[in-house]
Symmetry: C2
Subunit: 195 residues, 2 copies
């Protein structure tokens, strides 16, 4: 499509503005300017700043950052050795912040606004965390020779260790304070789970 619709232009401008400044500091004037439309046009499509923000985050949750773990990916690889599969999975997740720098600011905003926008936080958990945990739990159950007593809790440990590593190292700039090679985390995690 050569001519994107105005709402799409507005949402694109809003992404940049909100991700850069956060909800409260984002300006509807700047969003309109970035989109190349007037402020009145923004308000004719989204009735308020809060409406625009909610529509935006829901769009981001549903489309842009859903690639992390697609349900179909895991079921197809039950024949690969578990340590190889888990190592690849961990590597792929840890690469995400480098592949899409927006992801870092997006997580900052979801966490930062979770107290004032609980529904958005829940949408994030449902779409990303819950989906990933469900897939990984399914995989652990499908690998009976791993003898995992509690597949669901084991998935929490795996995802939690990796997600917190990303939060600490990249989002909170811990890489400059307590650096650690990703391989060490991956090796330790895979060894713990596959024995």
């Amino acid at each position: 499509m050569l001519k994107p619709t105005k709402p799409d232009l507005i949402l694109d401008g809003a992404i940049a503005e909100f991700l850069e400044r956060g909800y409260a500091a984002a300006s509807m004037d700047r969003i309109a300017a970035r989109a190349g439309v007037s402020k009145a046009t923004v308000y004719s499509h989204f009735q308020s700043k809060e409406n625009l923000f909610v529509a935006l985050i829901e769009r981001l949750v549903k489309s842009k950052f859903l690639v992390l773990l697609e349900p179909g990916q895991i079921e197809a690889v039950v024949d690969v050795p578990p340590d190889v599969f888990l190592r690849e999975l961990a590597t792929k997740i840890l690469e995400q912040p480098s592949n899409d720098p927006d992801l870092t600011n997006f997580m900052r905003m979801v966490v930062g606004e979770s107290g004032r926008f609980p529904e958005l936080a829940k949408a994030f958990v449902s779409a990303l965390t819950a989906t990933g945990l469900r897939s990984l739990t399914f995989y652990f159950k499908a690998c009976p020779h791993l003898e995992i007593a509690d597949p669901e809790a084991t998935a929490r440990v795996f995802v939690g260790a990796i997600a917190h590593f990303i939060i600490t190292q990249h989002i909170l700039y811990g890489a400059e304070i307590i650096p650690m090679a990703e391989e060490r985390l991956i090796n330790t995690l895979v060894d713990l789970i596959t024995g």
Copy 2:
């Protein structure tokens, strides 16, 4: 002391305001009102909103939330069985959000403002995450019969799994979407590490 100083009154008011609304939406008028002083008095002690915010977060990082893991605590218990010790440690950390509800909003704010206040994020990582990891790494090294190949990375897994559980369940309201008893995480984590 019967009469708290003005700066302390101001900081107390600022805590509530910033934790409730976040940096950008916090109002210097409301902070002054909460502290029971005039706005000019606030500016005479802290030259700007940003200065006040930085002073506040540094105070919170250094004092209020440092109780999580004191360095002296771990060294004294090398004779307790590791599984018992790790279980108690995990339980204590997981209880923190209930013991101090401010902790939840504090973590929301540190993560949410980390892009615009990187130094505060680093102060948080240095004071809390790094301290906790250092203590736990020391403990793992002092338990040679656990045969931990990489104590530092193992500490990351332990702390990361628990911290991410808190973030998902409490900060992002995941408890309503993907509930899980804390015991299951603790059991799984301790079993993985102590074999």
